[in-house]
Amino acid sequence: MASLPPRRWAALALLGVAALLPLVVRDAFVLDSLILILMWGALSAAWNVAGGYAGQVSLGHAAFFGIGAYSAALMTARFHQSPWLGLLLGVVLSIAAGGVIGYLSNRLRGPYFALSTIAFSQVLLIVASRWRGFTAGSEGIPVPFRPGLWTLGLGHVAWVYVALVVALVYYGVQVWLETSRIGYQLAGVREDEDAAEALGIASRRLKIRAVTLSAAMTAVGGTFWAQYVGFVDPFYVFSIDLSIRFALNTIIGGMGTALGPFLGSILITSLETYLRATFSGLKTGFAGIYLVIYGTALILVVRFAPEGLTGVAGRLGAWRARADA
């Protein structure tokens, strides 16, 4: 255990705090913020698998989120089945969709790939918002609340632990991607695909797998989010804003690092909650002020600290170590 790098200790400490918090604090607002931080962190970690580790920057991950959210919402509201079956369906559908996007990632690079993912999520948005007979169209679907774990009708404290388990598993997947053979191969493909190919790495298959894994993880997150929030609105779950949120958390925290998405989520989700609470009484439009800050922060971070918070922390650590020596 002593050989664990400081990052892992930081992650364990953060998750420990999250696990203990519900035992001490019972305030619904604090618990809600904690759940959202964990959920957005986990979803950003899912994006990170494709965007950070495989280098396939998607601006359409809301597509998978929406697939997960709709699968569970339709399963419960329309077919009166357990949301867990919806989760399963969401994973199956998103694997199929992820396969398509993964295939595209082999044909398109850089901005072309980002554009194709936007188009993909927009197609799903249009289908979900116009297919009134099945998805209830733009009105959205209220998710019925039935108490119990099988129906995912849980209280705040239970949701903290559900979100925590998801966050832990996703953190684990990322650590695996950093330390396993496949993870190193993926890093090779990300840094120089031609060189990786020359070394005998099956780069195409690897990219498809990474994007598909990321898609499935995002769909699971979407299912839990829909069950927690209790309402699925097509213009939110398939929105470009949502896709950007996953990317934003990860970039601010540090792309291609296991801790990054969670750090970004802590910073951005709490900033959002705070500013929303502060400005909500003033003027309707003022709620947008945190997005102005996001946008500006994004420009500044990619320009001056493209490796994100974890990278900055790493640099500071190295600087201090040098100063000590």
Binding site: L104, R109, P111, L115, F120, A247, V302
Partner: protein, 304 residues
């Protein structure tokens, strides 16, 4: 007239109307897309904030009309230098630092710019839908059984004139040649003594001036709100990819194709589904001919 012939006549009218609508719409899309494709072609940057400049153009027209009752066509003369200046400012403050950075940095810089501008508009002007109705928006012209309003026609004529002017500028002026040289080979252009930073600044400013003008032109036809740019810019991406990123003639043809898909799609399947068609077309083009319908093969895998 016997019923069959009357039906035939009605059919011809419908097709004439669809054709005219396509051309009118296509002209405006071309002006939006041409700025995007110019910036891409020369700077190799996809400007994800393009739609937000369109939205700012629409707001400029809206406020000039409601505060000082200035007609959008008059505002156009002010907006072009104004947005040119805005383009220069954005280039110097935001784009200059990332012009040689990786794709991801460029994508997220312009995405960040888009989020910031959209929400500045939301904070300052709220999310209300606003419309402006100058007199020409309610003048209907009827020719050969087709009907369209005056604003549409004027917007089309000005958009086409501006697009052609830009095209001529790129083709026949010295500056245009310098810009094309920079697009072809940045390093060689630098060796020939071209100040590429100036070229990029000019390119970005022209691109923004075009989309700002487009915003002013469409303001009498569409509602103005902070995310108004999104629907147009998604369309502009489709146009630009169809025509081949960086290809100006391609962008004009692409605009007509997208407008035709939109007009026919809404006629046959209803307005609600029209967007599906151009996104499906978009994905199909990306998969089968990613360099555009008329472009060279291979551009997309180089990630240019």
């Amino acid at each position: 007239m016997d019923p069959a012939r009357r039906l035939g006549r009605a059919q011809i009218d419908v097709f004439a109307q669809l054709g005219v609508s396509t051309v009118l719409l296509g002209g405006i899309y071309a002006l939006i897309a041409v700025g995007l494709t110019l910036i891409f072609g020369i700077m190799r940057v996809v400007n994800f904030a393009h739609g937000e400049f369109l939205m700012l153009g629409m707001y400029t027209a809206f406020w000039a009309y409601s505060l000082w009752s200035l007609d959008p066509y008059f505002v156009l003369f002010i907006s072009i230098p104004l947005f040119f200046g805005l383009g220069v400012l954005t280039y110097v403050l935001v784009m200059r630092g990332v012009i040689h950075a990786s794709h991801n940095v460029q994508i997220f810089t312009t995405v960040g710019l888009s989020i910031a501008l959209q929400n500045v508009a939301l904070v300052v002007w709220t999310g209300d839908f606003r419309t402006l109705r100058p007199w020409h928006a309610s003048v209907v012209i009827r020719v050969f059984g087709t009907a369209f309003n005056l604003s549409q026609v004027v917007a089309f004529v000005i958009a086409v004139a501006l697009t052609l002017a830009l095209f001529a500028f790129m083709k026949w002026t010295h500056t245009g040649r310098v810009m094309r040289a920079t697009a072809q080979d940045h390093d060689a252009a630098t060796l020939m003594g071209i100040d590429t930073d100036r070229v990029y600044r000019l390119t970005f400013a022209i691109g923004i001036a075009c989309v700002g003008a487009a915003g002013v032109l469409v303001s009498p036809l569409y509602a103005v709100y902070p995310t108004a740019g999104l629907q147009f810019v998604l369309l502009a991406y489709v146009v630009v990819v169809l025509g081949g990123l960086g290809d100006m003639v391609g962008a004009m043809l692409g605009s007509l194709i997208v407008a035709a898909v939109e007009v026919l799609g809404s006629y046959v399947f209803g307005v609600a589904w029209k967007e599906v068609f151009y996104f499906v077309l978009f994905i199909a083009v990306l998969v089968f001919r990613p360099a555009g319908l008329f472009g060279q093969r291979g551009a997309e895998t180089l990630g240019v």
